[in-house]
Amino acid sequence: MNVSSITIKVENVSKKFSRSLKHVMLYGIQDIGRNMFGLSSRSDRLRMDEFWALNDVSFEVKKGETVGIIGANGSGKSTLLKLLNGIFMPDKGRIEIKGRVGALIEVGAGFHPMLTGRENIYVNGAILGMSKKEIDKKFDDIVKFADIGDFIDSPVKHYSSGMYVRLGFSVAVHSDPDILLIDEVLAVGDASFQNKCFKKLSEFKKEGKTIILVTHDLDAIARHCDRAVLFEGGSISRTGDPNSVVNHYYKIILGGNDLSSYAVSPEGSSINSSAAAGKPELDKFLEEIPLTDQCIYRRSYNKNEDRFGDRRAEIVDYLIVCKDIVDPTIIQSGDKIDLYLKISFHNSIGNLRYGFLIKTIDGVKIYGWNTQFDGVSVGPAHGSNMQIIKFSIKMNLTGGDFFIDIGFDELINNNPTTIDKRNDFIHLVVQAKKTFTGLVELECSYEEIKVKQLA
């Protein structure tokens, strides 16, 4: 085996996506039209509303190497895997891959709920490029590895979610890939199954197979990988020894939003000049119907938010407007902000309560409010509707970092059920105009009323 042979070669690869569905449709037709007449789709240029999800990424993987890919959500890891798997085509650059690629990206995607496990193994195997002969030969191993026993002849809709994933994983690992792309699938299944998966991975490593592992489990990266690659904002920010890359990444996460990078100007107004588009951007916000969570693209979004709720409806986007500045990260004490929330409803909900809470960096509650406090009745909201609401808040705060929780509940007989709660969701820096102590600007003014001789 030639150890130094390059299996995966990624050269200056970029991939763009569009933020709005309307443009996805328009650009899709444009691209198809151009291709139909044999013209290049000129994919190297950005059109309105498009952004680079991956930007100028280059790296090489040698045969037999295990490479871990880490980075925050939205940093481009999964996009990269889809490119390596050939699901997406690069818009710039080129990718060369030597050997059969097997992907563990959401296993069991081709399962049909009505068919039995046995039938699904054959369908899924064929989708992954296995011949009937190959599947016949490995059938028993697949069933044994998945550990689903007698359920093999029951429709998979009766499977538990663990069994479902195990069967999907088992088919995928038995498709005999030379290169294995793994995206976070090891997080599913119980501890014993995970253990089995890691054993299988070690086996693959011993056989000299190339593995690309995308995961948030940094310990797994440090333990199993020969090399780690850190993605930040669509580009590779660091690559090398897994321990040092993981340590660097820890530093970034623990640092939260990198405050040192805020450019503070004396007036505090020019800071947001790049975002000072004002009204058009707000109009766009009010029009767009996002498919995925757009909050993560806002500059004041805190990626270390804590999110929970049953998600029958979701906060899909938000926008802060302050004195015609859209999406500021820094505001001045006393500024009035308009906080727009875009909520997309998957189910109809009868009676709603929207609320927010402003806190200091160390969690001291400064001001919290919800629609119930003012007796505002909200709802009913219908499934598959989108709602935009607005809080207007006068930010009479001291200078410093503030975090805003946002959420909404369903109220049934005044008992709330959390639908989507995003704690530490927004991070705003407030600049004090005047000096005072404490947290809240109470706008004290002072005057001398009288001067009188005492004696």
């Binding site: 899709g28 198809i32 190297d44 050939g86 009505m114 068919l115 369908v123 064929a126 989708i127």
Partner: protein, 282 residues
């Protein structure tokens, strides 16, 4: 294994390829995915009939009821069908069976990629298999309907021409035309969901525009429209094979056959040009 083969992904991969190498790849890909097409076909076939009481009967119930409605409309004098050489129900059933092959095939093909959306964005596999296996489903339904037609022929005491045995071959051009349009629409539907409704609307509309439930008119504007409509020729051709024993308009049938093959080939090329772009748009 084929571990020496290097795959390259780059923008406009397909466009940069020469004419011959592009077709070579298309043929290789189609040949290589025959196993997958079969599996997808079996999957959809089983899934369709597994939790269904009447199962196969549905393939024949729809055309039977439609024919029943038209027999009634004809008897009631609401819908003047004109003269047919054979009893009307037999005439209509043959036309409608062939038509339904086109209509269900087209709608199945154009929805095939969207319906498999979850799979398309997660697994890399030849997406043409989805379209072809959907069409195969419609072909099987058609074959089932032919058996039904034999029974109806017996009831009405109609003896078809001996050439009727060639019917399965006579529908091949129609299948190619359907697949051709289906390949094209499957990608467009991936981008605009509107196409689902458009296809339904068009098939309903064409059911009346094309002489399916009535004999082709012999003169006038309507006849002229029919004359340039390949669908009319292909369906009439199938009916001629069953009843007449020869093509009433051989030029029309063979011309439409050539047209269908061209549509099929162009659409196939188009499909492979655009296929790589669809996953990110779905």
């Amino acid at each position: 294994m084929n571990s020496d083969k290097t795959i390259t992904y780059q923008p406009d991969n397909q466009i940069k390829m020469g004419f011959l190498s592009a077709w070579k790849e298309i043929i290789n890909s189609l040949y290589g995915s025959r196993e997958l097409i079969w599996r997808l076909f079996v999957r959809d076939f089983l899934a369709k009939y597994k939790q269904s009481l009447l199962g196969f009967a549905w393939a024949v119930l729809n055309p039977l009821i439609t024919v029943g409605i038209f027999v009634y409309l004809n008897k009631a004098g609401l819908f003047n069908i004109g003269k047919t050489h054979v009893p009307y129900p037999v005439f209509a059933l043959v036309g409608l069976s062939v038509w339904t092959l086109f209509a269900t095939g087209l709608s199945a093909c154009s929805n095939s990629i969207v319906n498999a959306g979850a799979m398309v964005v997660k697994i890399n596999f030849p997406k043409s298999s989805l379209v072809i296996s959907s069409m195969a489903q419609a072909v099987v339904d058609f074959l089932v309907r032919i058996f039904l037609a034999v029974i109806v022929f017996a009831i009405f005491g109609v003896l078809p021409s001996w050439t009727a045995v060639f019917l399965p071959f006579a529908v091949i051009p129609l299948v190619m035309l359907t697949l051709g349009i289906g390949f094209f629409l499957s990608l467009i539907t991936g981008i605009f969901r509107d196409m689902v409704n458009v296809v339904n609307l068009m098939t309903t509309f064409f059911l009346f525009l094309v002489p399916v439930l009535y004999p082709a008119p012999e003169s006038g504007l309507f006849a002229a429209i029919n004359n340039i409509n390949p669908l009319s020729h292909l369906i009439a051709g199938c009916r001629d094979i069953v009843f007449l024993g020869r093509f009433a308009s051989p030029a029309g049938f063979w011309g439409s056959t050539v047209f269908s093959i061209l549509v099929f080939l162009m659409s196939l090329r188009f499909f492979y040009l655009v296929e790589a772009k669809i996953a990110e748009r779905i």
